[in-house]
Point group: C2
Chain length 243, copies 2
Amino acid sequence: MGVIRNILSSRSNKSGNFFSVLNKTLGFKPKNVLHYRKAFTHRSLNIKDEKGNAISFERMEFLGDAILGAVIASHLYKVAPGGDEGYLTKMRSKVVSRKHLNELGKDLKLIDHVETNIPKDQFGANIHGNLFESLIGAIYLDRGYKYCKRFIYDRVIDPYVDIEQLEGQVISYKSLLIEWCQKEKKDFEFEVYEDTGNDEMKHFAVKLWLDDKVVAKARATSKKKAEEKTAKRAYYALQNKIS
Amino acid sequence: MGVIRNILSSRSNKSGNFFSVLNKTLGFKPKNVLHYRKAFTHRSLNIKDEKGNAISFERMEFLGDAILGAVIASHLYKVAPGGDEGYLTKMRSKVVSRKHLNELGKDLKLIDHVETNIPKDQFGANIHGNLFESLIGAIYLDRGYKYCKRFIYDRVIDPYVDIEQLEGQVISYKSLLIEWCQKEKKDFEFEVYEDTGNDEMKHFAVKLWLDDKVVAKARATSKKKAEEKTAKRAYYALQNKIS
């Protein structure tokens, strides 16, 4: 690994804060940062390991895709005890759709860390999702299945995977909630403010006021997402009253 | 879980030694045997859990399939550092082909443990592979990813997954070895004997003699497999001399 380690390490000068951004993205300390460097190495760099094998994040995508599939499968198995295998397969394909993975990768700004010899604007739209998968592959190689599971719960399942929403029964928790407030003649307000805190990324925080009480709070990388997350939390908190 | 536990547990009388066979098949002690009972429950039994959800091994197949895919992906990623993602995908689909999974399930005689209201001879050929997947699903629920990995290495990867064989470069290690012996004018003999030992299943043991020395030994559930496994071990042990 000597040669490749040297080549990949030298990039730390260029990419500067790769390590510290990585820590924040992952939510834990990587053991071997080399795996993550590989996860952001495009084949156009023509880096080879000591045996002459090309290094490229595309191989790691294959690995990350499989791990992601397993974690999502086990989550759906548990939360949808009434769904048969056809249903579970359909729900999973919604969660791991290209569109969704691209959004996830874009939110984490993974493309900023790619090392490539071709201009980044020439990558197709799927680069974001591909990098998200290769990052999961790197986590697996670095820390194993458990850390992947934790990362996927933090970044995919907790914020975005909701059976009712996946089924299309609930399009938006925000509109559900607004409807209910109007029917019940309650005053409500989504109070939104920018709250970047210690994060690299811009974050929005939202408080939902019902009459004169805060009933839910959430943070996310966009105003819309933060509102939806808050509404979802409020929905579950108020569930007995709403449905 | 009260009702379902009672229904499933009562089967222990019928299936008798389910638990002891399970121990041998798994290579470790299950914590919660209920998961394994579910993994062998056909929907024709019409068992429902306390919330009215149908119990059937088909849901567990979905889970097992995903875990198997992840373990095989990570193995291939490691053993084929020169293969790109297309290659890795192709190799994986060979390992987890229906045909291969059916063989694995058949070898373990999983069908013997199925509880069903329809005659077993009416199941299609894929029942064996399906049960193999549902068994992996049960292991995951009972003991987590690590135990699945261990089981898959024991039952799938170590005995059957060989990159050269998957690529079709090596059709049979036995014929490779015989060819070499003939060229080198070596006496060889595959000594085969039945060796069931403590296993439920009939096993064959093979010793490969080269001139007057035993160069490799292996056990498997068929004579042909045991010979091939022995030849593969001898091939790697003698690799410098052979290639």
